[in-house]
């Protein structure tokens, strides 16, 4: 009997012993994690909200941060550089915690970034970087895109291919990071390939009609053109139309890049784009979140951290594209921004 009692006592003690430390055990990372986000304000300043690229970034960031108690505000620049500049000034006065800005061109907002960081506000750039480095940048490495495009053009049109080596560059905005860094990388790569000739290097201001005019004139002037190097899928529709009208589909190699929506996959599958580089918006959104997350948790002095999150460039060709390659921005954004 005593023995039984003893055993029972031991068992009870053992259980108590097990349960007591369990109640006291704490995840030391949890509370500081939520604490870091709670009550913070993150402002999102895209060039425009009326674009799938910026809407999907916004949706991704909002979905990740809002449940953590972050106040997410959007200031739509609506293609107006002054509007964004004014919004940044206002947000500095309101002492928000983080600014996420998409740069219209590489020089824009440099002074405002400095002012914001002096006020202790983190500045994260997205999509297209400026020449001023701030706390973070999430988006493609445009120079790398240029290098990849140049390598593809050399492989397709360069020495030994029997082609003319003539390529046409149809840029978006020539003063944007996309325009400047892609072009620089292409020109640098062609330095060691004298057979490569850039017969057209012009900006379309992101307008497919202007791209169409440039492309049709270029084709007219250079019937032996080997490749079009487009800088952005929307405007590249104009290149595709010009190539089709000229009866050059399949003959002229058309390159493009973008966020990898279903329409882009369709363009690759139907042979409109021969080569396409995808920088998935969903990844960029996650990279923005990661940057903000590490800034708010480690809280370095604004302007001291220079974190880069480079979005991978996924190559798509007719051979590689599958039903899983692309996605729908409309589905991804859903009702998040409503």
């Amino acid at each position: 009997m005593l023995r039984h009692l003893f055993l029972a006592g031991m068992t009870a003690a053992a259980f108590a012993g097990v349960s007591a430390p369990a109640a006291a055990l704490d995840d030391p990372t949890r509370a500081p994690y939520y604490e870091a986000f709670k009550g913070k304000t993150v402002a999102y300043l895209p060039i425009t909200m009326a674009a799938n690229i910026t809407a999907s970034w916004a949706a991704g960031v909002k979905r990740s941060l809002e449940p953590l108690g972050v106040k997410f505000v959007i200031r739509d620049g609506n293609f107006n550089i002054d509007a964004t500049a004014q919004a940044i000034t206002g947000l500095i006065d309101q002492k928000v915690d983080v600014l996420i800005v998409q740069n219209t061109d590489v020089q824009a907002f440099a002074k405002l970034y400095k002012k914001a960081q002096q006020a202790g506000i983190y500045v994260v750039q997205m999509g297209m970087q400026s020449v001023v480095q701030t706390d973070g940048y999430a988006g493609p490495d445009w120079s790398s895109l240029g290098e990849k495009m140049a390598a593809a053009a050399i492989a397709k049109c360069g020495a030994g291919t029997g082609k003319s080596g003539k390529v046409a560059l149809v840029q978006g905005a020539v003063t944007s990071a996309n325009g400047i860094f892609v072009t620089q990388a292409i020109e640098a790569a062609f330095q060691s390939h004298p057979e490569m000739k850039i017969v057209t290097n012009q900006g379309s201001d992101w307008d497919p009609s202007k791209a169409h005019a440039i492309a049709s004139t270029t084709l007219q002037q250079n019937p032996d053109l080997c490749a079009f190097m487009g800088y952005w899928e929307d405007e590249d529709q104009g290149i595709v139309a010009a190539v089709k009208e000229g009866g050059k589909t399949g003959e002229v190699f058309v390159m493009s890049s973008g966020i990898g929506e279903q329409k882009s996959c369709d363009m690759v599958s139907n042979g409109s784009f021969d080569l396409y580089y995808d920088y998935d918006s969903r990844i960029v959104a996650q990279q923005i979140v990661d940057t903000i997350s590490s800034l708010l948790q480690s809280r370095p002095k604004a302007g001291t951290m220079k974190a880069l999150q480079v979005t991978p460039l996924v190559e798509m060709t007719k051979a590689s594209v599958t039903s899983q390659s692309c996605w729908s921005a409309a589905d991804y954004v859903g009702n998040t921004l409503k």
Binding site: A50, A211, D234
Partner: protein, 364 residues
């Protein structure tokens, strides 16, 4: 309001209308053609702004033909016209408004939103003909609202159309499309021929430009309504006192111009399988006014014609085609373009100095 064909314009009218600083002259009673047309205005006509711009375009055309290999090829010339076809069509619409002493800054937004609406409707399964009717109706409604506000509420056209443009775009962004580029659905079928099709090797858009130019020319010069527009532009009060139905005419006029904008948008969008609504923020709205004014249509109203727009459009076309072939950068193209346009205005200013007789109230 009726649009009645008057028949051939009496010869005596021509010099007064086409003269550089001549006033549009509208007679509600047909005059018998005089045997000897006035000689003096014809001398002036030789140096009107339209002529100066035509000479400039010709000089540039000849120079480019000589120095730029490939410029003179028939295909390039077709290309040249095709690339400015939309600009020309919008310019013709704008010119008729400017002749009536108005201005329509909502053309480009109405164009972008109505075509985006068409694409969205078709994408959502609406039959193409019905979608075209609905989209055209929306454009027409915006235009008629413009006209009603200008004619009856008497808000200056500059403000009315500026506000209407912003409103159309805002409503479009809120209700119609969420992305700046609206992709043309394949279901639009034959409509895509408007921008992308060819007849006998010539793009359909070129024929459309010429057809619209011809219709607009006939309308302005050979219909009562067309002549009334000159009358309104020259002196609205006098036109009204003379029995011209000024207000209804303005409403119908702006509505038709909005419809024309929709049509131009169809050509623009089907050429590249996409309506880029960002076009509203581009220089296009100014370019449209530019080709009208550079061609010699006075902003003060009452003078000008379709030929002015065509000359202005061709100048822009020759310039941008030549510079694209020369592979000049975007910035340099803009600089050269603006310098040539300034040159045209300066030459006009020197040859046709403004004085009390030629300047008009409302001249800008």
């Amino acid at each position: 309001m009726t649009i009645a064909i008057v028949g051939r314009r009496p010869a005596a009218w021509a010099p007064r209308i086409d003269g550089p600083r001549g006033r549009a002259f509208v007679s509600l009673v047909r005059e018998a053609p005089t045997s000897a047309p006035a000689a003096a205005p014809r001398r002036g006509f030789a140096w009107s702004q339209a002529t100066i711009v035509a000479y400039l375009a010709t000089i540039m055309f000849v120079a480019l033909s000589i120095f730029l290999p490939g410029f003179l090829s028939p295909n390039n010339l077709i290309n040249l016209v095709r690339n400015v076809a939309v600009l020309g069509i919008l310019g013709i619409g704008m010119a008729t408004v400017v002749i009536g002493r108005g201005i329509d800054l909502s053309m480009v937004p109405i164009m972008a939103v109505s075509v985006a609406l068409l694409f969205v409707l078709v994408s959502n399964g609406v039959a193409t003909p019905l979608a075209v009717l609905l989209a055209a109706g929306a454009a027409l409604l915006c235009g008629a609202a413009n006209g009603a506000l200008i004619a009856y509420v008497e808000i200056p056209p500059l403000f009315t159309t500026l506000a209407m443009g912003t409103m159309a775009l805002g409503l479009g962004q809120y209700f119609v499309f969420s992305n700046v580029s609206v992709i043309a659905p394949t279901a639009i079928g034959w409509l895509s021929e408007l921008g992308g099709g060819k007849v006998a090797g010539v793009p359909i858009s070129v024929f459309l430009l010429l057809a619209i130019a011809a219709v607009a020319h006939l309308f302005l010069n050979y219909t009562y309504s067309g002549r009334y527009i000159f009358a309104i532009g020259d002196n609205p009060s006098a036109a009204r006192n003379g029995g011209v139905p000024v207000r209804p005419l303005i409403v119908v006029h702006y509505a038709i111009v909005a419809l024309l904008a929709f049509f131009a948008g169809l050509i623009m969008a089907t050429a590249v399988n996409e309506m880029n609504t960002r076009i509203v923020y581009s220089t296009l709205p100014y370019d449209v006014i530019l080709v009208v004014v550079i061609g010699g249509v006075g902003l003060s109203g009452g003078r000008g014609g379709v030929h002015n727009v065509l000359v202005g459009t061709l100048l822009i076309g020759v310039l941008s085609n030549g510079m694209t072939i020369m592979n000049l950068s975007y910035t340099n193209q803009k600089i050269i373009q603006s310098m040539v346009l300034l040159l045209a205005i300066v030459i006009d200013g020197i040859l046709n100095p403004r004085d009390e007789q030629t300047s008009q109230q409302g001249d800008i």
